[in-house]
Structure formats: structure tokens, C-alpha cells
Symmetry: C2
Subunit: 247 residues, 2 copies
């Protein structure tokens, strides 16, 4: 009997051409494509990337995960997703769980993967992808880190003290999922004299993507910019900053 | 007249299938492939990856950069490389500079890029790639970072204090180019009770690649392992560790 295989496939940061050859092959060969989405979305961003690559003939299993920090509620959704995936694996299906960017970085995939590994003896394979911050640095033609420099990746800044500590001890910082706390974060950057050397990107690589290099200013000024509306609302937003200036 | 274009192409971490569709296309369309290599190497690792993807008919320009921290010496090599690239761009050539992993992370490409940007008005485009640490986490089927966790990337640890600071303040750490200081680093991990939760990878994704999950032990024990010889010598080695245990 054919044995099911569980794949995690990073589809890259947005531009469909930034998927890997391997990711593209695994998707073509899969029997089922699992697409995570938030409650609000019509369709997950990762799935829309896959649609522009393939004429999807496979079964698509959409899995809804609410945007919440309530661990108990999330567990219920993860467990439900895992039950559905396990039943496909039991039938011998190749199941590809798609994720935006790289599957090891801030992805629902890793929670589901843990439970699949715990549940049984199905082979799993994770196909890495291009991380969003690598794509943003590339779009701006700037280094993320050089030589012996350190790089800190900090998501969804709530507390500003760890941010200050990182800014003082790391030459380079990536601040991910920045939309909600944008004004507070820019204030900290300004305190340290860094706001002129930061890059802001939102949905980088997607058709409505947006990239500003060296344009971050204090929140008061920013509020006058038309772009702010877009900046504040999007979950897929990040800032890259470094202590030295960009060459 | 056709205008030259300078491309930086991340070929990914080692497995040729982990190049992006875009990187693969740009390489096929390039007139010249620039391949960085150290003095000791017969051929750069990135070029050997490209060879297994393409029957290279283009001109290959091998650029030697010595493994040194002497900035003055390095500047001479960068300047020489830039002169050669500029003369190709002047002829209207599409020049693709290949790099292992992602071009924005610890790559010679970023130094060359700065000088190309300073030198003139040639268009530049950076094609991001899969970073080595993403590939290692994928090979081990573990997360690099989840939820609101922070991630620190620290190369070539010399001073152990910044490492201790990072280990105390970041949930997840990637230690790159670890070969030379391996015993000292493992000692610090052991002090903090972390050595059983680390993943060691060397040349991950290359044919002679090597991955050990949860196997890091004190240097004395390690010296008994046959693998140590390989571990200590290779520049392309890294450790991934996290404060909580892997699920």
C-alpha cells in the first residue's frame, strides 16, 4: 500500500517566481494542497501564489486558523486540521501544506507539523523557502548582515525594552508583523537616531506590494502620508534597520 | 545600445533544487556568470551548484577573494572584481554574480554591489535565495521561531559575552560559521543547559552534507566521534539552538 507523506512547502515571499524548483515540483506531484487562512480572508495568500503557478487540479483543503493569542482556542483549530490531514495520510495521499515565506519562520505549519510527528509514523519533509526579510533586502539591494555582524529578527513588538536592548547590541534588526505598533516602534528608532536608515516594506513581492527605503520619519509626519493607511493595516509589514548607514 | 544589467543570484543552500524559479531563469538568460571563490578552492561551491542545474555555455568569470580580515587587502580584490564586472556591463552584458544561500546574508556580493552602485548607472537586481539556516531547520523538521519569539543570527563567535547575552534574551539562536570556535561555543551552551537541544549542521544540502539533531555534547565527548574531524574544519557549519525544547 502507498504510504502518505506530509510536506511543508514554503512558497516564498510573494512573487510566484520566488518559489524553489523543489517546492514547485512537490506541489505538482501532491494529491492534496492544504492552505491555511485567517477567518477574515477569502483565500490564503500562499494559495493565490500557487494558483498563479499551477492550474490546480488537486484537492484543496482550506484550513482556517483564527488570528488570536488564545492558546486553548488555537489548539482546537490545530487539532481539527491535524485530524483532517491524518485521515488523508491514512489514505496514502501526498499532502502539501503551503506557507508564505519559509515554513520554519513564524508559520502555522510548525504547530501542525509537531502534532503530525506526535501522531504517527508518516514521513514528513519540509521544503524551505525564501524568507520575507531576505526578499525585502533584495528588493532594496541592501545587505541584511555582513562580515561578523549580528542580525536580530523580532516579531510583533509589544514591549519596547527588548527592542532597545536589541538595537544596542545588534548591528542589524528585522522587525516583523510591524503594522499595529508602527508609531511606537518608529519613535524608538528616532530616539536612537535610526529612523532615516530604515527600510519599510509591506507585502513585498505581491502585486500590491510596497517598499520605501530610507523614508521612515516620525509618526506625526507619517500621518500626513497617504501611504500610512496602507502601512498601518497590513500584517505582512516589516522594517529593516541597521546601526551603520546603507552604502 | 543594449544596457548591461548586474544581477546578484542566490543559488540557495546547496541542493540545486532549492534555487528559485527566478534565479534559475536569470542564470539561463545571463551572458556572464561571476563565481566568487576563496584562494584555496578549486571552484566555488555556488558554481558547482549551477553546473548541476545548467550546461553552462556562458562565459564564467571566476573571482578570487582571500579568506582574510585584512580590509585593505580585501578592498584591492573587491576593486579588481568590480573593474572586471564594469567592463562587461559597459559592453551591454547581463552579468549574474552567484552566491550560496541568500545574497543579502554574509555574502561577498553585497560589497561588490555597493561599489557597482557607486560606480555608475547600471541597473542592479538582487534575486533572493533560501538561507542556509532555513534549509537546516527544514532538514531537521523543526521551527526556527514561532509566535512572538525572537531569533538571533550570530556569525563566527569570537567573543563569548555577546553570545551569552543573546542566549539570555532570545528564544532562538543561529550560530553561523561555527567551525573554528566549536568547542568554546558548545561549552557556553552547556553552561546554560542547552547543549542537548541544539542542532549541528555542516554543508547542509550538499552531497557531503551532515546534520545532527539533539546530539551536541561536550567537546571531550565529541572528540571521540569520527564526525568531529568534519565538523571542525568546515566553514559552512552552523548550530541552531533554542531555550525551550524541540517538540
Amino acid at each position: 500500500m502507498v504510504k502518505g507523506v506530509f510536506y511543508g512547502v514554503g512558497v516564498g515571499p510573494g512573487d510566484p517566481e520566488l518559489i524553489t524548483l523543489k517546492g514547485y515540483r512537490v506541489l505538482r506531484e501532491a494529491d492534496v494542497i492544504c492552505s491555511p487562512k485567517s477567518r477574515a480572508e477569502k483565500e490564503g495568500v500562499a494559495l493565490s501564489i500557487v494558483r498563479s503557478l499551477l492550474d490546480i487540479k488537486q484537492k484543496v483543503l482550506e484550513l482556517t486558523f483564527p488570528m488570536t493569542n488564545d492558546k486553548v482556542e488555537l489548539e482546537l483549530y490545530w487539532d481539527k486540521a491535524v485530524r483532517q490531514i491524518l485521515s488523508l495520510l491514512k489514505e496514502g495521499k501526498k499532502v502539501a501544506f503551503i506557507t508564505l515565506g519559509d515554513p520554519s519562520l513564524y508559520s502555522t505549519y510548525t504547530y501542525v507539523l509537531k502534532k503530525i510527528k506526535q501522531a504517527g509514523s508518516y514521513p514528513v519533509e519540509t521544503i524551505p523557502g525564501v524568507a520575507s526579510f531576505c526578499a525585502c533586502a533584495a528588493a532594496a539591494n541592501i545587505p541584511l548582515a555582513e562580515g561578523d555582524e549580528k542580525l536580530a529578527i523580532i516579531p510583533a513588538v509589544k514591549d519596547l525594552d527588548p527592542l532597545r536592548l536589541a538595537l544596542q547590541n545588534f548591528e542589524n534588526i528585522v522587525l516583523m508583523k510591524i503594522a499595529r505598533n508602527y508609531p511606537a516602534v518608529v519613535k524608538v528608532l528616532a530616539e536612537l537616531g535610526l529612523e532615516g536608515q530604515a527600510i519599510y516594506a509591506s507585502r513585498c513581492g505581491l502585486p500590491d506590494g510596497f517598499l520605501k527605503a530610507g523614508l521612515l520619519t516620525l509618526p506625526e509626519e507619517l500621518e500626513e502620508l497617504e501611504e500610512l493607511k496602507e502601512m498601518q493595516k497590513d500584517y505582512l509589514s516589516l522594517i529593516i534597520t541597521k546601526r551603520s548607514s546603507y552604502g
